[in-house]
């Protein structure tokens, strides 16, 4: 707990950035997240939100700056080390064990930290929560896109993380599926702090929370959904001066 300025911050980055050759994908971001928050990261394509996300999850090593989780430095750690500190990650494309059945997927997620019996119970409960009980013994590879996304969310639920990082959890979903996903994320938020990267405005309106807007590798604005969508600078960057429609 030495380097942390405010002990209330669950996650904190100081000047975190990465460059690929001469391209500064993320410049130098100062970002703080309080425990229990539901935070959305939005921004136009290429704004650096996914890159920033990958630095938090350890999938990408930052070239400058620091990142602390619960006061512990996590920048530079391997993904599994980040995960072990209690950070659950959902990648953009569904990343699941396609050849294994739904229950086994959930059990693998649960048994990282839980004893076998407990993990089995957790897996069963999670199966119910994501509403895929009748598909329990089907290989995940056979499921529809939306269902696979839920399996992945279920795996994150089952692993009981302190912080959950979600990269475009509603990508490629129908409206009905988006609503269910939003409900699931709120449920996850009841026990974990959540960061969501998303560009579907309708979805962000559904889950509300605080919104951080990225543009050109830096934070442009931060506030409630209503605040940022009213912000002229955000409108200009994000939508080319148009009114934000779905709001």
């Amino acid at each position: 707990m030495s380097q942390l300025e405010s002990p209330m911050n669950l996650l904190e980055t100081q000047g975190l950035g990465v460059s690929f050759g001469g391209v500064h994908a993320v410049k130098a971001v100062d970002f703080t997240l309080q425990s229990g928050e539901l935070r959305c990261l939005i921004g136009p394509n290429g704004a650096g939100k996914s890159t920033f996300f990958k630095m938090l999850s350890g999938q990408l090593k930052p070239t400058r700056g620091l990142c602390h989780f619960k006061g512990q430095r996590i920048s530079g750690l391997a993904p599994h080390q980040v995960a072990r500190l209690g950070i659950g990650i959902k990648t953009q494309a569904p990343s699941v064990f396609d050849g294994l059945d739904v229950l086994e997927n959930l059990r693998l997620a649960a048994s990282r930290l839980q004893a076998p019996g407990e993990a089995r119970d957790t897996a069963e409960q999670t199966l119910e929560r994501i509403g895929l009980t009748e598909l329990r013994s089907r290989p995940v590879g056979d499921l529809a896109h939306g269902q696979r996304q839920w399996v992945e969310l279920g795996m994150i639920l089952a692993s009981r993380p302190t912080l959950v990082l979600l990269d475009e959890p509603a990508a490629g979903m129908t409206y009905q599926e988006v609503r269910k996903t939003a409900a699931l994320i709120k449920e996850i938020n009841a026990q974990s702090t959540v960061v969501v990267v998303e560009h579907d405005m309708e979805f962000i309106r559904l889950i509300a929370g605080t919104v951080t807007v990225f543009n050109q590798g830096a934070v442009l604005a931060q506030g409630s959904f209503a605040q940022v969508t009213q912000d002229p600078a955000v409108r200009e960057a994000y939508l080319g001066k148009q009114e934000i429609k779905h709001a």
Binding site: I89, S95, G99, L100, A109, R112
Partner: protein, 341 residues
């Protein structure tokens, strides 16, 4: 968990196999028994690749390297020590350690599938060339002359542990080899049923996801690779015992290719399939060697081609799909799901 057919079948099969191994030496003539012995030695080698490729997802083109290292480690050890007990340990430890060292650089260096195959094959060929150029009296480890392409002849065979005067008869050697194969098979079945095994399969399915769940994928792959190397080494040790001879041919390209063919034909994702395919193919090759109309290598290629084109999942998975269809359980019965048969 309730005991279902999936756990019962391998255990029952092993009990039957154990009985067979115990009684066969009394029924068979020595020549048949010796042929059978080498089939079982190779089956152990097939088992090692079935484990690391079929379950660990590590395509190793150089399983022959560990096999050869095991054979040479045993030969050099036993020629120096006399008693075969420690050389056997050496034959497992040396390849396992070499596998661990190679695995460390490959897995922790983040090398992906295809390059892994290239590296393992290259290591095998390097060993082949190194051992080939060790003829002459200056290439000697202790009292063991390496012998270059001529190999090491007259290797003392297994004795009763710590009792070098009590050398095993061919009949007993067959039983020891059979028992070793059964125990390794059961051990791997058990390992795959454990949490460790489940994680190994999960890593094969999706390495990124396994990592994001907090599993150290590099360490798991390293352990699997080393274990596979150790088992291949044990097979090499038994091979050296079978013929009392080892030459650089164990590192040859033909040897490496054969192991992969056994696993492809038998089926990746099963342990028993490659054992079956290995014994079957060797028996067939031996038969073909007795006639002069068709080249046996040609037939082997034909078999490989047939399986890759028509039964890409291999013999055992195809058979079990067929069986489930006949029994008419629901055909959705988990094609890619693991049964550690």
């Amino acid at each position: 968990m309730p005991v279902d057919t999936r756990t019962l079948l391998p255990v029952l099969g092993c009990v039957m196999a154990a009985v067979l191994v115990a009684v066969l030496p009394q029924w068979l003539d020595l020549f048949t028994l010796l042929s059978l012995t080498i089939y079982l030695v190779m089956a152990l080698l097939a088992l090692s690749l079935a484990f690391i490729w079929g379950f660990g997802g590590i395509l190793c083109f150089g399983q022959a390297a560990f096999f050869g290292l095991g054979a040479y480690a045993y030969a050099i050890g036993v020629l120096n020590i006399g008693d075969s007990t420690w050389p056997v340990v050496l034959a497992i430890a040396v390849p396992a350690l070499v596998a661990a060292a190679m695995g460390y650089f490959m897995f922790y260096g983040g090398i992906s599938d295809v390059y892994l195959g290239v590296i393992t094959l290259a290591v095998t060929l390097i060993l082949f060339n190194v051992m080939n150029s060790t003829s002459g009296s200056e290439y000697q480890i202790g009292s063991a002359l390496l012998g270059g392409f001529n190999g090491i002849p007259a290797i003392p065979t297994l004795n009763v542990p710590f009792n070098p005067d009590h050398v095993l008869e061919p009949e007993t050697l067959f039983q020891v080899i059979g028992a070793t194969l059964i125990l390794c098979y059961l051990g791997l079945c058990g390992l795959l049923a454990s949490r460790f095994g489940k994680v190994v399969v999960a890593i094969r399915e999706n390495e990124q996801r396994a990592g994001l769940l907090g599993y150290d994928t590099r360490l798991h792959k390293l352990i699997v690779f080393s274990l596979g190397g150790g088992i291949a080494g044990l097979a090499g040790c038994l091979f050296a015992n079978w013929g009392a001879f080892v030459s650089p041919g164990v590192f040859g390209l033909a040897q490496s290719a054969q192991i992969i063919i056994w696993v492809i034909v038998g089926g990746r994702g099963t342990l028993f399939g490659p054992i079956l395919a290995c014994v079957g193919i060797q028996a067939l090759m031996a038969r073909l060697g007795e006639q002069q109309h068709v080249d046996s290598g040609f037939v082997l290629g034909l078999i490989l081609l047939t399986f890759v084109m028509l039964l890409p999942r291999g013999l055992l998975p195809a058979l079990s799909t067929l069986a489930t269809r006949v029994v008419k359980r629901r055909p959705q019965a988990t094609p890619a799901q693991e049964r550690a048969l």
